[in-house]
C-alpha cells in the first residue's frame, strides 16, 4: 500500500490536512457570526497583528487601534479569504501591514525603521513561518544600515521612491540604488539560506 499516496496514512500529509482544516473551519464559523471563533482567531494571531502594527506605526495607541480595525475587518470580510490564494496568517498579516500604512498616511506621519533586537517569542504563528521570518530578520541586519532602512521604509512604510527621497532628503537616484541593491542582496542571502 502506498502510504504516501494515501493522505490518511501519511503523517506529514495528515499534519498538513490538520493544519489547513482548523483555519477553514474557523473562518467558516466567523462567517456565521460565531464570536467564539473570532476570539479563537485572536488568541492565535492577536499578538502577531499587534506586533506588526506596532512595528509599522511606532506608536502603542495606533497599534491598538490598528489591531482592533484588523479584527473587525476579518469579522466583516471572513468570506474574502480563499485558501487557494495563500495562508490565513499571511492574509491577516498583509491586512495588518496595509492597515498600519493607511493609518500612517491618514495621520500624515513618516516613521523611521531601525532593526529591532530579537524579542522573546510570545506567540508562535506557525512554527515554520516564524522561524523563516526570524532568519530573514537576521539577514536584514546583515545589510548596510542605509540599505536596510530603505528596504524597511519601502516594505513596512509603503513609501514610494519619491516619498523616501523627500523624507530622507536624499537624491531620488540614491534611493533607487539603495533599494535595488538592498533587496537584491537580501534576496540572494535568503535564497542561499533556503537552499
Amino acid at each position: 500500500m502506498n502510504t504516501e499516496a494515501n493522505p490518511k496514512n501519511n503523517p506529514s500529509g495528515q499534519a498538513q490536512a490538520q493544519r489547513l482544516q482548523p483555519d477553514q473551519i474557523l473562518m467558516q464559523k466567523i462567517c456565521q457570526r460565531d464570536q467564539s471563533a473570532l476570539a479563537s482567531l485572536y488568541e492565535r494571531f492577536g499578538n502577531a497583528v499587534y506586533g506588526l502594527a506596532l512595528h509599522v506605526g511606532q506608536n502603542q495607541t495606533v497599534a491598538e487601534e490598528v489591531t482592533q480595525d484588523v479584527f473587525m475587518k476579518i469579522w466583516e470580510r471572513a468570506d474574502q479569504w480563499d485558501v487557494k490564494r495563500g495562508k490565513l496568517s499571511t492574509w491577516i498579516l498583509a491586512m495588518t501591514r496595509n492597515a498600519a500604512i493607511d493609518r500612517l498616511r491618514k495621520d500624515n506621519r513618516k516613521v523611521d525603521f531601525s532593526t529591532a533586537p530579537l524579542d522573546k517569542v510570545v506567540n508562535l504563528l506557525a512554527v515554520e513561518d516564524w522561524q523563516q521570518g526570524q532568519q530573514l530578520r537576521i539577514l536584514l541586519q546583515q545589510l548596510p544600515p542605509e540599505q536596510a532602512q530603505i528596504v524597511q521604509l519601502s516594505f513596512f512604510g509603503g513609501l514610494s521612491h519619491t516619498d523616501m527621497a523627500d523624507m530622507l532628503d536624499i537624491p531620488l537616484g540614491t534611493i533607487k540604488t539603495r533599494l535595488r541593491l538592498g533587496l537584491q542582496k537580501l534576496r540572494d542571502l535568503w535564497l542561499e539560506k533556503k537552499s
Binding site: Y42, V49, L125, Q134
Partner: protein, 308 residues
C-alpha cells in the same frame, strides 16, 4: 523609471502578495515589460514579501483589545440573523397562501369599488328624485298658497334658478304681469301631472281660480333641448275631435329648464292631454311638428290627497 512606473513602485509588495484588485494588478502587469526597474522590484519582492511579514516578532497585545473586539462584534437587534429552514413544501404552501391572500384582497377591493360606484349612482338618483319632488312641491306651493305668495315665490324661484317664464296665450297673463295671479286664491285643490319622455321631464300643476270660471296652470319643463334662435316651445291642451288649444310659448335656459303660467276658461282636467311642440319663434295656431312630450291629463294626481 518614468512617472507611470514610479506611480506603482510602492504597490509592488502588495502585487507580489496578491492583495491588489484585479484592475490594478492588470495595470501593473501591463507595465512590467516597459518598466525594467519595476520588474526588478517584482523579482526581488516575489521571494521576500511573505517572509518579511513574519520577520516582525509578535508583541504582547493589551488585554482590553479582545474585550473591545468582542463588544464591537456582539449580536444586536439589527445584525441578529434569524435562521429559518424552509423546506420546498413549505415554500409551495407559502406561495399558495400568498396567492390566495392576494386574490382575496383584490376581490374585496373590486366589490368595494363596485359597491361604492352603486352607492354613488343611488345617491345621484336620490338627488334627482328629491329635486323632482321639490319642484313638485314648489309647483304645488305656487297654486295652493296665497296668491301673493305664489307670485312672489314663482318669481323668486324663477329668478334664482334663472328659469325663463313663458308667455301664455291669454293676454291677461304676461311674463311681467304675474301679479294678476293674485286674483287666484287656493280655494280648490291643486292637481299634478308628471311625465317623462327620454330624459325630458314635464310637470303641470293647476287649480281652479277664485272666480271659479278660470283655471290656472303652471307648466314646468326640465332637461329640454335648448331652442334655436328661430324656434320656441309651445304648450297645447288637446281634446279629442277638437283642434289643440295653445296655452302659451316658453323657452328654456342652458339647463333645459323652462316655466309657463297660463289660464284657461275651461277645467284643465276636461282636456284629454297636454303636449309640447317645437314651433317658430312667433308661435303657431296649430302644431306644425310632432309633439316632443305628451301627457294624459286623466292621470293627474290630486295633491290634497297625495301630497302634504
Amino acid at each position: 523609471m518614468n512617472e507611470k512606473c514610479e506611480q506603482y513602485s510602492h504597490l509592488i509588495p502588495d502585487y507580489c502578495l496578491g492583495l491588489l484588485d484585479k484592475d490594478t494588478h492588470a495595470e501593473i502587469e501591463a507595465l512590467l515589460p516597459t518598466c525594467p526597474e519595476l520588474a526588478e522590484l517584482v523579482t526581488n519582492y516575489q521571494d521576500l514579501a511573505e517572509p518579511l511579514l513574519y520577520s516582525v516578532p509578535p508583541a504582547n497585545a493589551p488585554a482590553h483589545l479582545l474585550e473591545n473586539i468582542m463588544l464591537e462584534t456582539r449580536p444586536t437587534a439589527k445584525t441578529r440573523r434569524l435562521k429559518i429552514n424552509i423546506s420546498p413544501t413549505m415554500w409551495r404552501n407559502l406561495a399558495a397562501g400568498l396567492t390566495i391572500l392576494i386574490l382575496f384582497v383584490s376581490s374585496n377591493f373590486y366589490w368595494y369599488q363596485r359597491t361604492h360606484d352603486l352607492q354613488q349612482e343611488l345617491s345621484g338618483l336620490s338627488d334627482e328624485l328629491r329635486l323632482s319632488q321639490q319642484q313638485d312641491t314648489t309647483l304645488a306651493g305656487y297654486v295652493e298658497n296665497d296668491g301673493d305668495l305664489m307670485t312672489n315665490n314663482l318669481n323668486m324661484d324663477a329668478a334664482q334658478q334663472q328659469i325663463p317664464i313663458g308667455i301664455s296665450m291669454n293676454n291677461s297673463l304676461t311674463t311681467n304681469n304675474l301679479t294678476q295671479i293674485n286674483n287666484y286664491s287656493p280655494m280648490n285643490t291643486a292637481n299634478l301631472l308628471n311625465t317623462q319622455v327620454n330624459d325630458q321631464y314635464a310637470s303641470l300643476v293647476w287649480s281652479q281660480g277664485s272666480t271659479m270660471d278660470t283655471w290656472l296652470g303652471v307648466f314646468s319643463a326640465q332637461n329640454f333641448a335648448m331652442n334655436s334662435t328661430d324656434s320656441i316651445y309651445q304648450l297645447w291642451l288637446n281634446r279629442r275631435n277638437e283642434a289643440p288649444l295653445s296655452v302659451g310659448v316658453f323657452g328654456v335656459n342652458d339647463l333645459g329648464n323652462g316655466l309657463l303660467v297660463f289660464e284657461v276658461e275651461e277645467p284643465i282636467e276636461s282636456f284629454d292631454s297636454i303636449s309640447v311642440t317645437n314651433e317658430p319663434v312667433t308661435g303657431s295656431f296649430i302644431p306644425t311638428t310632432d309633439p316632443i312630450i305628451t301627457a294624459d291629463l286623466h292621470n293627474w294626481v290630486n295633491l290634497d290627497s297625495g301630497f302634504e
